[in-house]
Symmetry: C2
Subunit: 222 residues, 2 copies
């Protein structure tokens, strides 16, 4: 179907392409996937990276616990309270912290990051995402070069010492079950594109390291 409107423009039968969106934004869509222990500094680094990208007039968007766990990946309780789901339905679709639920949590986040990537946006995710299998599934769902895994490496000792939300303390006291690093495993990435050594790099230096990778990789132009 080709038609002419009053403005004399021809509209074609099909979608705007990803390439057209990337041209508009002068950047390439990509998923920057940050992984690491709680208190490793993922969110702080992600926030600074986002600001640095904005300063370069690049369109980035962060997916994190705040906008995902209270939105797309609500738990059963929130699905009942906020959506009015019946208890059984809420239990079926709600996400907790079992291995299955963590897998589905990461899958959904990966699918959303993929949509943002397709939209031409630089999607920055900051989730512990402790299981290699789940991260690799997201990588596999994206094209080569579209998944940039950033391992925010911190020792458990340092993370536990920081413990800004007192979560490690609670986990050690047995008040939090299945806490990554304490009684649930964290599986280090084997082939992360970027490894941040948080024992030596400040959050600003870490963000600059990622930014340099994106610049060098040609993501910030078309």
């Amino acid at each position: 179907m080709k038609t002419n409107t009053a403005s004399n423009i021809t509209w074609h039968d099909g979608s705007v392409t990803r390439d057209e969106r990337q041209q508009l934004l002068n950047q390439k869509g990509v998923t920057v996937w940050m992984t690491g222990l709680s208190a490793s500094g993922k969110s702080t680094i992600a926030c600074i990276l986002e600001q640095m990208l904005l300063h370069k007039k690049k369109h980035a968007y962060r997916l994190d616990g705040d906008n995902v766990r209270f939105g797309l990946n609500k738990d059963a309780k929130l699905l009942q309270e906020k959506q009015g789901y019946e208890e059984a339905t809420a239990k079926r679709f709600g996400l907790g912290f079992s291995a299955d639920d963590r897998m589905e949590n990461i899958r959904r986040i990966g699918e959303v990051a993929k949509l943002f990537t397709d939209a031409g946006v630089i999607a920055i995710t900051s989730f512990i995402s402790p299981y290699r299998r789940d991260r690799d599934a997201v990588r596999k769902s994206l094209a080569a070069g579209e998944f940039v895994e950033v391992y925010v490496n911190v020792s458990l000792a340092t993370a536990e010492q920081r413990d800004p939300k007192g979560l490690y303390k609670k986990a050690r006291a047995g008040q939090l079950k299945g806490f990554t690093g304490i009684d649930d495993p964290y599986e280090e990435p084997l082939n992360a594109e970027i490894v941040i050594d948080t024992e030596t790099a400040s959050p600003e230096q870490a963000a600059e390291q990622i930014l340099a990778y994106l610049e060098k990789g040609g993501y910030l132009t078309v």
Copy 2:
């Protein structure tokens, strides 16, 4: 936390705001929610609207069956085949076409549209979304003015006559169960921001009608 980097810029402790993203894009984030029977023309109108917006250098992104049903909202079969989910897990999280599944389908799409809206993007969704309650839940989750409901109104007779994919024929023959308009209800919007009369408006005219609404409503500038 405020720090100075080599480039002498101060990074603050916090997120890039939605306002900053909107300034960058020179537009306001919004969800344009198209609803209507199968074969009403939702997707065609959405595609043309997307092109018109691109022509005005606006960043829009379409969510539709193609990128959602095969991604975020995979059914149990795809979760097993593509994600390697165990059967029970796949059945739990996979989405079919029961009322519960349709509700969760629309909820997830709404959550994603909300994220795109927060990102400053013009999110265009084209799903039958037959139940008023489900659409209204999405409306409620967004701020005033952020949800623009577009009722693509077509008579069942016309939709059935078009039947580009032969779905109505199959539904009439009993080969498709729970098909909207045949053996599952379509609940018309009561207060849609825009009503498209597809008996009189061409897809281009319909897209122009929506575009005019967005322009008049101030969505295409900051």
